[in-house]
């Protein structure tokens, strides 16, 4: 098997960074997320490939929090699009865990299928390669196995890395994967490597039948109780590897300006406010319910897979201990027509 020894990791990242923007999990000051390898400051930053995960998922590589779409010039009553910013520059997400790969694959469903293609997303994804990092030891909050993710062999990866102690086993899965492998072929060695033991998931989650059951639970009293502690901040949605909702806004200075899209969150009151001022999800409970129905029911109905990837981030960061696993449990246990 092909192996990239850890001693050669930096050389490999340097080489890959020649023609690609390479995003690597890092602790950068107070921030924990995917940052470009070129921005890595050896004295300050910490590479997090050997940690369980980082707080910000790699979703902003393909769906940046703020993305300029096009610039506008107005001349009298005419408005002209000056320039569009579809960005297909080559990017590599290096070392994504299975849950985060699934987040991007779920976004592919949204932005590229069902008769609609989002040209901005499509451009970014066309230049994007995913090098996954197989997960042998799930963390305390992990439950990707229950969310249809194979953490050892994530669907959608172009290359899969397997941490074998002093090196990474390098498994190529796609043509795109072949192409990036060619860039560092001289750094890969052909040898045997001992793969780590697969550790069991400590968190037990049973998602079976939840999507179907939720169909009859829109008006269930369970949501009053579950949503009570929620303060409707957007932290869960912004650390989520698969939350993709966005808003499109414009900035104008006189006759010139640009349109951009930016992450938005169903947790915010303004998100579902309509032009006339009405709001179908004006109450905290309604926004809370929307988030979980989207993750566990609606997405599954439309795309055949849940939108939650079981990464456990929202469970860690929630200031009021909203826990999606406990919500799945509560739905399982709920009596309908009680």
């Amino acid at each position: 098997m092909k192996v990239l020894s850890k001693a050669k990791l930096e050389s490999a990242l340097n080489k890959l960074s020649d023609k690609n923007e390479v995003f690597v999990p890092m602790q950068k000051g107070e921030r924990s997320g995917y940052f470009t390898w070129k921005s890595f400051d050896n004295g300050q930053d910490e590479l997090m490939l050997d940690a369980l995960n980082v707080y910000q998922s790699p979703k902003n590589v393909v769906l940046p929090q703020t993305e300029k779409m096009y610039s506008i010039k107005s001349q009298g009553v005419e408005v002209n699009i000056d320039k569009t910013y579809e960005d297909a520059h080559p990017t590599i997400i290096f070392g994504a865990r299975g849950c985060d790969v699934k987040g991007i694959i779920a976004m592919d469903d949204v932005f590229l299928t069902r008769g609609y293609e989002d040209s901005f997303y499509k451009a970014r994804r066309s230049g994007n390669v995913i090098i996954a990092n197989a997960c042998y030891e799930p963390g305390a909050n992990c439950f990707c196995n229950a969310m249809e993710v194979n953490s050892l062999d994530p669907v959608g990866s172009d290359v899969i890395l397997r941490d074998a102690g002093d090196g990474y086993v390098w498994e190529v899965r796609t043509e795109k994967g072949e192409a990036v492998t060619a860039l560092i072929a001289d750094l890969l060695e052909e040898k045997e490597a001992k793969l780590p033991e697969v550790k069991p998931f400590t968190q037990k989650v049973d998602y079976s039948g939840v999507a179907e059951k939720l169909k009859d639970m829109f008006a269930h009293p369970i949501w009053d109780k579950l949503s009570q502690p929620c303060v409707n901040c957007g932290m869960c949605t912004y650390v989520c590897p698969s939350c993709y909702c966005f808003d499109i806004q414009v900035k104008m200075w006189g006759d010139e300006g640009y349109r951009f899209r930016a992450w938005d969150s169903c947790m915010f009151e303004e998100y579902s406010r309509e032009a006339g001022g009405g709001n179908p999800r004006g109450a905290s409970k309604e926004r809370f319910r929307q988030r979980f129905l989207h993750k566990l029911e609606f997405f599954k109905e439309r795309y055949g897979t849940p939108l939650c990837t079981g990464c456990g981030r929202c469970i860690i960061v929630c200031p009021t201990d909203i826990n999606i696993v406990r919500i799945i449990d509560a739905v399982k246990e709920a009596e309908i027509n009680a």
């Binding site: 602790q27 929090q65 305390a140 932290m235 650390v239 808003d247 960061v317």
Partner: protein
Amino acid sequence: MKEITNKIQTIASNLFADNKIDVFLAWEKGDLDFKTKSFVARNAEDVKNIVFDEYSINNIANSLLKFRDSHERIGIAVKGCDSRGIVRLLEDLQIKRDRLYIVGIPCPGMKDPLTAARNRGGFSKQKEADGLAKKCLDCIQPNPVIYDELVGPEQSPRQQGDRFAKVKEIESMSADERYKFWEDTFSTCIRCYACRQVCVACDCRTCIFDEMKPQWVGRENSASDNMMYHLVKHAHMAGRCIECGECERVCPVNIPLMLLNRKLIKDVGTLFGGPDAGMQYVEGSKPPLSVYRENDPDSFL
């Protein structure tokens, strides 16, 4: 703490039995020992879930905002900082005093469940210290300032040294250095608005950041929009921040938000004098920036 829990439960049970309240706001236990969260007991049966333990850090006064438009009579358990939040809500006429039965708990200082959750989560290589939360080490008012009944022995403030030392350090920078400091600090913000949502002093019905017609602050995650968000949010807190420290505690990127709040506390104290926000409740009183007086200081204009 077990004793305090028992006392709160007894008080809440009696209040339900005497039909004096419709709900009781306190904390309950989650599935792990560090998981304590805000809780609404709706009847005597729910009372057994109430706890007060070393992780009861959430500011319960914030839960009152969900009841400001209803008529329930509310029992509520509060620590020192939470009680200052109640004073703020009373001053802003968000809730009526006669709807509340306040059980005050002198607070011995809390641990942060988020620190424990991060340590358990395994996303960082170093473990964080799990002693008293930073906000509790900075606490100047552990004893409730408003209550109908007090449970437990009085506690001493834990804040040591000059409370504004760090503020003075920033003040002594040149304007350019200061700008750079804040620009760098706010550049990490992910605009999740958790700092706003957990803030009990943020009680506006429609927040300026949610206004779309006109839109005052853009949604771009950029230096200018991020800075606009934080400076406007915190300027609104001038004379209103009760120093519960929840904004800084919940921030997912550890922005030192209390530094900004303390600067404003220091300035408002210097300019207007008087007690800090929420330190005492006098019916009809307003924080300095909510009223106009002819002799208001204006040398900075």
